[in-house]
């Protein structure tokens, strides 16, 4: 187990100075997690798939503006994020 690899998968950052602390703590937790009885894992999935509601649009009684109130940055009724596609410079 490489803690920096796991942190990268989890979209978390661990500073170089904290790497050893997290590495040893995680190893201890993984050791505990691995102490499981020998059981057959055959037919384990799917066991009980959580049912989902029908994916249909309906009025939930909450306005567009209300829904956007918790977004960190909005503009003209949209949520803003940093630029994702580089814009080609025009000559």
């Amino acid at each position: 187990m490489n803690i920096q690899h796991i942190a990268k998968l989890a979209r978390l950052e661990i500073s170089a100075g904290d790497t050893n602390k997290w590495q040893s703590e995680m190893e201890e937790m993984i050791k505990m997690a691995g102490e499981l009885p020998e059981c057959s894992t055959a037919d384990m999935l799917p066991d009980s798939i959580m049912p989902l509601r029908d994916d249909v649009i309906k009025d939930c009684g909450i306005s567009h503006d209300e829904m956007l109130k918790n977004a960190p940055v909005t503009r003209d009724g949209h949520i803003c994020v940093p630029k994702t596609v580089p814009v080609k410079e025009k000559n």
């Binding site: 993984i30 997690a33 059981c39 384990m44």
Partner: protein, 482 residues
Amino acid sequence: MKLYEYSAAELSEMLMTGKCSSAEIAYDVSERIKEAEPAVGAYITLNDSMLRDAELIDNARNRGGLPHPLSGIPIAVKDNISTAGIRTTCASRMLSSYIPPYDAHAVDCLHRAGSIVTGKTNMDEFAMGSATDTSFFHTTHNPIDTAYSAGGSSGGSAAAVCAGEAILALGSDTGGSVRQPASFCGIVGFKPAYGAVSRRGLIAFAPSLEQIGVMGKTVRDAELLYQLISENDPMDPMMRTCSCKHSSSLRIGVPKELFDSTIVSDECREASFSALRLLETDGAVLTEISVPKLRYAANIYYVISSAEASSELARYDGVRYGHRSQNAAGLESMYVKSRTEGFGDEVKRRIMLGTFVLSEGSREAYYLRALAAMRELRHELDAVFDSCDIIAAPTYPRPPFSANEAQSATDKYSADICTVPANLAGLPALSVPCGKAKNGLPVGIQLMSPAGAEQRLFAAAKKYEELCGGFAQFRGGSGYAV
């Protein structure tokens, strides 16, 4: 006697007979909050309109409305249960300014019954912890002795009920987070069967295990609040109704794995046995049982709950709600820095453990094996319910510990062994106070039954409450430390 010292059932009776008003109860509770809160720290956010809400309820009652027994009763709500227009933080920096646009179904039930929401209670961040000390805001202290922990993760809710800062409280229980703090604070905590209470509006941590639970000073109080929030909700597709035939006798299974002296302290074991012996004098039959997979319950629980947490908490990316880092350069960096700044260490631990057990090469060895072991544990518990009506065990293997006590993550996780089986098997479970430890703090006994047999639990717990002379003695009578 101040009104906050009465049980919800007593106050309900007083309201119905005109001996007091909702406004008077709300006033007493709000004064008590001012008095106790500096030392206890049960709340993150108070409901500023509590007194006004109570007056409106009085007016409605005077017009002949609101017949529900809990109308006008002040109830605290854990801060991972959504309240429209009231900040709901999960005790995390990530959601420190999040205001839900809708009420959780359980909160909607409170409003329709005319109950009064006192405020939002402190908790471990995202309900991950057992001492209410991983909160981004502050640590909650035990009202009986503030040098001690109130337990967790619903420590704020338990402390609020114990201190009289609320009459009842909602908590959430993913692995014991209602029952353990209830036992630390000398009150009653009930985790319903999986699917008995809607999870709509409960901010998810491990959705296959968690349930909204209830806390009160007495068994009857917990039962009243449970009856109120267990209304069917078509918006939670996992809701289900179970029924069990009523049993007139009481056969109590005593699992040797949860009374093992290498796991459970002498004080907690003895207190539980004393309670069981008292029930035995009243005709209950005690039977030693063995459920071998219980030994692995904490290990199974931490694999499955962390796996689910890593997936559930992936939604916090700084885009639609929650903390967004101001130090990011580009989209990927925004995700990583928002999460790194927004989550505390315990949440990061669980997310990374979950990420590991679901990663390529580990899924079979950890996650699937834990699911298989959980399935076997469920079969073993089903089988023992053929020979007993309820199962009893200490709620927690050790007495309440000091606030901010340093413990390793794995030591803390292992101590959840008595409470996590009910979550893994979806069973209803109730903790009632059963004695005091040498440090003067209360300890609890836990009763579990098959889903659908909640009435057996309430009946057995009420019987014990009657036989032991009431739980107030375990909280130190009506005297409060703060």
